[in-house]
Structures are given as C-alpha cells and as structure tokens.
C-alpha cells in the first residue's frame, strides 16, 4: 500500500491504514492512561471512548 501524497497534519507520509493504526495506538494509550489516572476521579471510560473515536475520525480524514 503506497503512501498517499497528500498534505496532512501528521509529520510523516501515511496511507489510510497507517492512520487507522495510529488511531488505534492512540486509543489504547489514552484508554490505559484514563483507567490509571482519570477513572479513579470519577470520569467514565466511555468519555475516553468518545474522545478516541473523534480523534480517530480526525486522524483518518485529515492526518
């Protein structure tokens, strides 16, 4: 799968699969961080899921 020549905000050239991969990596990192530090403060993990999905959509479309 060749990287697309398109201007995105990510500092490397990517194709849609790379951006999906980056989104999943960020999702997992954010979820683990949330479980460790924010959930004990009363913030539900579903907020993290929502943020991750929005982040994934932005990265896949504009990354």
């Amino acid at each position: 799968m060749k990287p697309e020549r398109r201007p995105g905000f990510l500092p490397i050239q990517t194709n849609w699969f790379d951006r999906l991969f980056i989104s999943v990596v960020l999702w997992v990192a954010l979820s683990l961080f949330w479980l460790r530090f924010l959930e004990p403060l009363g913030l539900s993990i579903w907020i993290c899921v929502a943020i991750s999905l929005i982040l994934a959509a932005v990265i896949i479309r504009r990354g």
């Binding site: 697309e4 050239q13 479980l35």
Partner: protein, 292 residues
Amino acid sequence: MHSKTLGWILLAPTLLILFLFGVVPFIYVVFVSFHQWNPFGANPNMVFNWANNYRRVVFDAQFITSLQVTAAFVFFAVTSQLILGYALAQAFMRDFPGKSFFRTIHTLPLIMAPIIVGSVWKLMTTPSIGIIPNLLSNWFGYDLNIGQSATQAFITTVVMDIWHWTPLVTLTMIAALVSLPPDPFEQAQIDGANRRQIFWHITLPMIRPAILATLFIRLMDAMRTVDEVLMLTGGGPGSATRYVGVHIFKEVFPRTNYGYGSAISVVVLYLTIVVCWLMYVGLIAPRNKGKG
C-alpha cells in the same frame, strides 16, 4: 492465468497459515482478556468483565516494576549485542589462523534451546559448584551469588543473553559487510579518509538497513525473554529479574489466571508494537512532509 491471480494463489498457503497461527490466536487472546477466566477455580466458566483486567493491569505494581526491569534488560542486552556483534564481524572479516574454526564455534550458542542455556548458566553460576563464582573468587576475590544479590542476578541475565544472541548479530553483520562494494572504500582511501571517517561516513550508512533489521529482531526477542531467565533465576531475587515474560508466565501457569494473563500479554504486545513502530518512524520512514 493472470499474473496477479497467480500471485495470490501462490501466496494463499502462507497467508492462511499466518492467519491461523498469528491472527486467530491474537483475536482469541484479546477476547479472553475481557473475561474473568480461571478454568481450575471455583467458577471455571468465562465471565465477561468489561475492562476489569486492564484496570487491574494499570494498578499492578509488580507488572510496572517488571516493565522497568525489562526496559533496562533490553537496553543493556541489545546495545551490547549490536556493538559486540559488529566488532566480531569486523574481526571475522580479516584473516587470522583458525578463522573458520572460530567462526564456526562462535555460532554454537545460537543452536542451543533457551531452556538449555538457562540450565547451563544456572550450573555455571551456582555458588560452590559453579565455575564462574569459583574463578571470580579465586582471581579477584569477588563473591558472585545471584540467589542473593539483585544486581548480580540482573547483570548475569544480561550477560547470558549477550552470550546467547551476539552470534546472530555477528552473522547478520558479516552478511552485510561481505555484500558491500569495494569501490567507495577505495575511493575514500585515495581521498585520504582515515578509518574513523570511513566507518562513520561509508560503512555505517551502507549497513544501516542490516543494523536496523537486527535491532528490531533482537528488540522484540529480548522483550519476550522467559525460559532462560526462568531457569537461571526464576525471576528473583525479589523482582530483580522478573521480566514481563516471566511475570506473565507466573500469572498464567501457576495461578491459572488466564483472563488477567491475557490482558497483560495484550498490553505487552501493544508496547512492543509501539516501540518498534516509533523506532521505524524515527529511523526509517521518509520524512518528506510538505512535498506532496
């Protein structure tokens, strides 16, 4: 037959095997990691428990300690292996008496199963009967007891890994060095470049792909070290050599805690992928943003 179709047909057996033995077990482990499952416990059934195993992972002090010691182990072992492997490869590129003999025997550790390596090193490092504590005591007056000293146990596992895997690096480096064309080196010598300049500006850039491939292989391998260390130290003393592989083993097999063990495995796999991907992006991937 169309060449593309033929290509897919020829690839199909490999893809099928990869799917069956790579993708399916991965999906299964992710599935199990969201369950409470102890087949030998009071309730042997799988019970879906959302992300509770992951909640436990992020608060598991022993797991976080094991990650730290694994990071130290990987750093010292892999760095030493790359430096030593390259130095040995350079030595084997020159002619000296008995070269082919040494070249053959230096690869012997590679053909040993890790569990055998662990057993042999256990035998060699046991105080009173092992050769290494005996020699260290007689020659330098140094007491080696990996059952008591955390630092000594850690260093011994690093040395054992270096002993076991440096030959792999050497072989890769030899293959890379042999395949280098002689012209750039001759031209550099004609231009008056010294050995250090030739190394930094010609040899190193030309064997960079081989170094990076070896680095990735060794990195992933070192992060999942289990059997050697389990045989040598059993993860002790304390948690000095309780690397993540050993931690997972102790969680899954003696405690038969498959759900939690799977969650740790997934987190470790995630960390391994992220480390390798970040290194790939930093060292290999083209940085040509803005050219598109």
